[in-house]
Symmetry: D3
Subunit: 236 residues, 6 copies
Amino acid sequence: MRPSGRMNDEMRSVSIEAGVTRHAEGSCLIKCGDSQVLCTASIDGRVPFWMKNSGLGWVTAEYGMLPRATHSRGRREAKAGQSGRTQEIQRLIGRALRACVDRSALGERQIVVDCDVLQADGGTRCASITGGWVALRLAANVLLKSGKVTTDPVKDHVAAVSCGIYGGQPILDLDYPEDSEASVDGNFVMTSGGRLVEVQTSAEGETFSRDEMSALLDLAGLGTQALVAAQRDATA
Amino acid sequence: MRPSGRMNDEMRSVSIEAGVTRHAEGSCLIKCGDSQVLCTASIDGRVPFWMKNSGLGWVTAEYGMLPRATHSRGRREAKAGQSGRTQEIQRLIGRALRACVDRSALGERQIVVDCDVLQADGGTRCASITGGWVALRLAANVLLKSGKVTTDPVKDHVAAVSCGIYGGQPILDLDYPEDSEASVDGNFVMTSGGRLVEVQTSAEGETFSRDEMSALLDLAGLGTQALVAAQRDATA
Amino acid sequence: MRPSGRMNDEMRSVSIEAGVTRHAEGSCLIKCGDSQVLCTASIDGRVPFWMKNSGLGWVTAEYGMLPRATHSRGRREAKAGQSGRTQEIQRLIGRALRACVDRSALGERQIVVDCDVLQADGGTRCASITGGWVALRLAANVLLKSGKVTTDPVKDHVAAVSCGIYGGQPILDLDYPEDSEASVDGNFVMTSGGRLVEVQTSAEGETFSRDEMSALLDLAGLGTQALVAAQRDATA
Amino acid sequence: MRPSGRMNDEMRSVSIEAGVTRHAEGSCLIKCGDSQVLCTASIDGRVPFWMKNSGLGWVTAEYGMLPRATHSRGRREAKAGQSGRTQEIQRLIGRALRACVDRSALGERQIVVDCDVLQADGGTRCASITGGWVALRLAANVLLKSGKVTTDPVKDHVAAVSCGIYGGQPILDLDYPEDSEASVDGNFVMTSGGRLVEVQTSAEGETFSRDEMSALLDLAGLGTQALVAAQRDATA
Amino acid sequence: MRPSGRMNDEMRSVSIEAGVTRHAEGSCLIKCGDSQVLCTASIDGRVPFWMKNSGLGWVTAEYGMLPRATHSRGRREAKAGQSGRTQEIQRLIGRALRACVDRSALGERQIVVDCDVLQADGGTRCASITGGWVALRLAANVLLKSGKVTTDPVKDHVAAVSCGIYGGQPILDLDYPEDSEASVDGNFVMTSGGRLVEVQTSAEGETFSRDEMSALLDLAGLGTQALVAAQRDATA
Amino acid sequence: MRPSGRMNDEMRSVSIEAGVTRHAEGSCLIKCGDSQVLCTASIDGRVPFWMKNSGLGWVTAEYGMLPRATHSRGRREAKAGQSGRTQEIQRLIGRALRACVDRSALGERQIVVDCDVLQADGGTRCASITGGWVALRLAANVLLKSGKVTTDPVKDHVAAVSCGIYGGQPILDLDYPEDSEASVDGNFVMTSGGRLVEVQTSAEGETFSRDEMSALLDLAGLGTQALVAAQRDATA
């Protein structure tokens, strides 16, 4: 029995509100249960220096958490610097989003996706990817509408969900109490057609079998469908 | 004529939504026109080490701005560190809030007020003080309700508003376009009874007269009354 | 009764010795009572990059304190980095000095004013502004004499003095024992004609009235006259 | 055809020389093809502060690369700090090694495994895990021999190998030229019995299918058997 | 012929003014030609943690240079951090001063000697040692007078002078123009009796003979006598 | 009697294995007793910016120590930053190597010599200089062979050895137990012909005589001959 009382393959409620900020070219507030992430996409005319004159664009991501997004207050990242965990997460978000981008169609410009956690209850890196895609989609729409870009650089949906093994059972979309007790914890990034973009599955002080790996991949496929549907609604 | 079309003594609309986060002991989202600041108050059982065994409590504040809170994206503070401007602002917020606190009644504990700007359009340090007071008030209510504190440590309201000289005229509550063109820019922190807590008035490349100083103080008094009323509504 | 035995409107003795260093284009050692600040002005042919090709010059300031300038030794800033207080002070000095500068007459060059406290007894930021102006004046003279600049870029005197409320009384030019006990502490930057450049008045855990604010402004006007006279003597 | 001329399921030659340093409680030099990593295990009587009085031990890892371990010289990490990539790798090594450790049997002490790359040709994080296990095994032997620990805290072998998709084909144990051209790149940590500890598979700008995921897991199982055999030889 | 016109064995004029600051237990302003260093000695009741309960005291030094102590303005160390050169110098000053200290007589307390260069013209590390000794001597007098220490912890004089090879000739006490053109540059720390404490002689892109080494040691002995005499005068 | 049982003028065994890494233009592993240093020389087509268009080349060095190179594990330098000791050492290595380089013959390019201590038992800075010379020599050979350089830029051998006073006796080539107990500790850098490049001799809490200085220089001359012979063998 999950602490949340959910079925093993039951997601938390998802809501994505698009266009929530005035300045960013694309933005949304995504809520996955009690996790809330503000995602913005900013168009930058310059690419990183090592990419100049390549004709290709770039998509990168940054991730942060407000000090009191968590149960007990954490040190402000502007004072403590970015932890290894934070850097690992934002590298993951960037790779995930680039998997759906035609960098040639984007042209020599960069889109920076900022994912800032206002409230945390597990699964914030996955919510960041799912919400980050919406912000990216909206920023690409701005480029298309302005005529700066003529071919859509966003080729497909990308969404992410966590799955893990809790009490010996594979479960979908872990909240914080589940996440902190799970023996195996995985993050799965997939496209609308169910192809894989990234699989990160770790045991902490445990191991798991090939069959369990398969069960997690099955659950992730289910979850992705629901998230892609929410992305479609938000950007319709 | 102001860019905003407002009268010289006309505030922007103010809204304060209390209790917006699940984890913090006190919180609100304050909107002053298009400036939006998420304020949380966190109760910490420990005071700074130089205050131990004094029997007195402490209130401190931290301030931050999301990278795309502004018109063009700024560097993430977790990478760039806190700028001198940021440190100056958070010191101001802390001093302002302490002016209304009975540190003896608070007892040997600390309240940390975090003010994070989700969207900026001028006046964010003032909005942080006004909203920070609401978060502080709610956290103090938690302490009173729990019996950990028996005398109310929050003695009075504290609110802040900016006033400046724009086009030769004293005006109230500057938005970003006004702020960036003003010859004199001031921030005024006051109590519900109109007493002064902090006055910071600077000219950049200009000077101003004693009469102009008086006009700014008059406008600040007006603005404070409106802000205190909004605080009362939010915490009723 | 003030700890120093001075009258409420009595300044400490002021001495300004100009031309004390061999390398800097302008310099002075200013002593306000026991506070001693070495001020140098350095002419730099380049302006900050965001000002290039504007035809305008820039004046900026940096402030520091030797480790044993104070009663007990502080951490060396080269190890500890600049504190928020230090950054706040040097931003103030820079704004204050720019108020008297014709940036167009200065031309596309920068003057960096360094204010280093050799001995501290309260009021070091004010002494830095008053002494910094002397260093700036002398550096401008070098530019005028060399013909690099044809119109005097220094339009007026700028000087600063602290005033505060101590034992319920408004007093002028606080030394350290007064400063650490004052309920209200203000720094006032003014021109030779008594116009205001910057007003920073803060209460710590207290409030003050409009009448008290007026009394502090009156005292500041008195103090400024004495400081401008000392500047005139030093640069005659 | 692989650049290395190897078969798709062919590993590079592996050599593990144990006991190469005089000071460390456990050490080895592991060579996987041209990748060379010096691994040491240091026993520390203290655990991290958040683990005190838990009766449990801890295993952690740090990873580094000498400046000229790579084709062109990189910035020295002592000057540049640890990159996000470095932090991600050392967190992975630590988690992987902890999967085989009985923290209760270890007792309240910490083993720090340092993995320093002397020469890099792809797969250094996997070599670090495989070699790190040998250093850990030898340090545990020291604890057992000294009687400080009575139950063997190392429960099983842990080894790691990279697999990826190159030219549309799943291949085993990528060297640098293969790694830099692969469309999918994965790191697999497994036990001697073939159970999974960690799976990290990422596409960069691509996606992959469930069948390809399975093929990579099959290859990883093969590779792990060879690595475990080499670990057995080195610690016999 | 030396740029300064001095004889090869001729020192610059030396002046040491003791007791120049109000707060420090010992202080002096030393001028060696145009090099000026403010030296203070601060008594600290605590020793570094690794020396606790040893019954021994410690003497350490810190060195800094004001931004415009030099011909062209350098970056403020509070922003740039301490350079390798600065750290090397302050380690040298500390070692030199400890050579004359009876750490057992000092008792478990620390004396921190700060050497801050107000104006630089070569030889500032040597001036810091010579002046630092005066500050240390005066601080030890305070300890003796107060009865906190009963045996004099300062056993002998320590002074330092630079010697080098310029134009093929060994010369004494290099100023900046000589220092920047010398083929060999050495710093010599000696006691009043001519015993050696530290010898640091470097060629930059050159080499030197044993005979030249001897000539430099002879000159250093001469210079030390003059410096010790100046120390005696200042502390009489 | 030395702890090592060696005669006062007896070196430890020295071995230098050249060409140990695949990527670097020059490399060696030097062992002086139990001290082991991996030295690499990297050719960089760019010189530091302040040397551009001078027609001259540059040689610089960096030094590091693996965390468990020492008896007890030290903090990883990538986390702790470079200590003052480390910076002092790498500045010494760079100066020493430049003493034998014809910077004009080298042409406008830089050679970076990295010295990383794999195992420490005293004398690592001297081993770094002696081994660094071998790496530099081999990199220069690559430049000569490729025709990029036509005159040999390496004019002479440079090698270094430590000498000190231990138990009142001058001794050669101190190992760690000797080094930590010596009253005087010196590092001597010399050429094949016995000319001096750098002399650094320090007493910690002691002093020494001119005669002792001479005895140390004599021993250093002996040691250098042995080291130069080992360099010749390794690069033959």
